[in-house]
């Protein structure tokens, strides 16, 4: 069993510094890992990055984060990534990490992701260079996410993004802006690689629970959606994993 805490869209700034952290005192007793689904800052300045790092340092559990579009707004995304890493936060951008949670290996692959829209109602890699750049930013990330999920040597895997891999969890948002909220390419990559859970943020007016087309559980953990400091998910380790690890051990002997 793995206990995952997750939240997105903290949007911290000087006037709320410390307020979020004050809600995290019970976290270490409730979860094995804390996933942060992007938009840590309000407009992506290095100062806000330092405040975000202060909220997330020394929580007593590993913190894995991705950045969101707001964290890119001031062009300080590398500085923000740096201060978060200095505070002990693992920041993923098209990469992955594996944690040992009392004998169970939890693999997390993730990054910001991007938009484009969903099946049958989406942007195409066609026409003007601006349009191609938009779609390719999503496509390149989706490819890296898929490869990374596949490479994770883990019992349980989670995909962590800012943009949504499913239209389900956008319910409540205006349909017209779905292409700016996520992309089926993310969902397709997650389904091809397989994952036990996909966590995202970004859609403040969306819905917590949904599925990818391939049936992977998707959770939108944007704070305005979950209305709590974080959501808690308990993932039972599939029995097949135990069988596989037993087999692996047998063959190793």
């Amino acid at each position: 069993m793995i206990r995952v805490a997750a939240a997105g869209d903290l949007h911290v700034g000087p006037e709320v510094a410390g307020a979020y952290r004050a809600r995290l005192s019970a976290l270490a007793g409730q979860a094995d890992v804390f996933l942060v689904a992007g938009d840590l800052t309000r407009h992506g300045t290095a100062e806000e990055g330092r405040i975000a790092a202060g909220e997330l340092r020394d929580l007593g559990v590993p913190v894995i984060a991705v950045l969101g579009n707001h964290d890119y707004h001031s062009g300080a995304e590398e500085e923000i990534t740096g201060v978060l890493r200095d505070a002990g936060v693992t920041v993923l951008e098209g990469g992955g990490t594996v944690l040992d949670c009392t004998g169970t290996r939890l693999g997390i692959a993730g990054g910001k992701g991007f938009g484009g829209g969903f099946e049958g109602r989406c942007a195409s890699d066609f026409g003007e260079p601006e349009m191609k750049a938009f779609v390719r930013h999503t496509r390149d990330f989706a490819e890296r996410l898929g490869a990374c999920l596949q490479d994770l040597d883990a019992d349980v895997t989670v995909a962590l993004t800012h943009y949504s891999p499913s239209a389900d969890t956008l319910e409540g948002e205006p349909l017209e802006i779905y292409p700016f909220l996520g992309s089926y390419l993310l969902g397709e990559a997650i389904d091809a690689a397989g994952a036990d859970l996909a966590v995202h943020g970004h859609a403040h007016k969306g819905t917590e629970k949904g599925l990818t087309s391939g049936g992977v559980r998707v959770r939108n953990v944007a704070l305005p959606v979950i209305q709590h400091a974080y959501a808690l998910y308990r993932l039972d380790v599939p029995e097949a994993t135990f069988r596989r690890s037993v087999r692996e051990r047998v063959s190793a002997w």
């Binding site: 707004h73 403040h204 709590h228 808690l232 308990r234 039972d236």
Partner: protein, 81 residues
């Protein structure tokens, strides 16, 4: 007239993004009143969003129905198996 108030709503939305860094706020212009709905992270941002909207509202009244997100500690976990 309806068309013009939709342009105004768009301009207010642009101002909310540029000055208050808020993207998810719904703006409706109904007659002489601009309605703001959605979620923000603090009371100060609720006021800043109203000020940003007012600066682009061409003298219209602002009806601020923005809600500050409650960030309570979670009560329960969801079991996924």
């Amino acid at each position: 007239m309806t068309g013009m108030s939709e342009y105004l709503a768009a301009h207010i939305q642009e101002r909310l993004a540029a000055d208050a860094y808020e993207l998810g706020i719904r703006v409706d212009v109904r007659g002489d009143v601009v309605h703001l709905r959605g979620e923000v992270m603090s009371e100060q941002r609720r006021r800043e969003a109203e000020e940003a909207a007012r600066a682009a509202a061409e003298g219209r009244e602002i009806c601020n129905e923005l809600h500050v997100v409650a960030v309570a500690e979670p009560e329960a976990e969801e079991r996924l198996s």
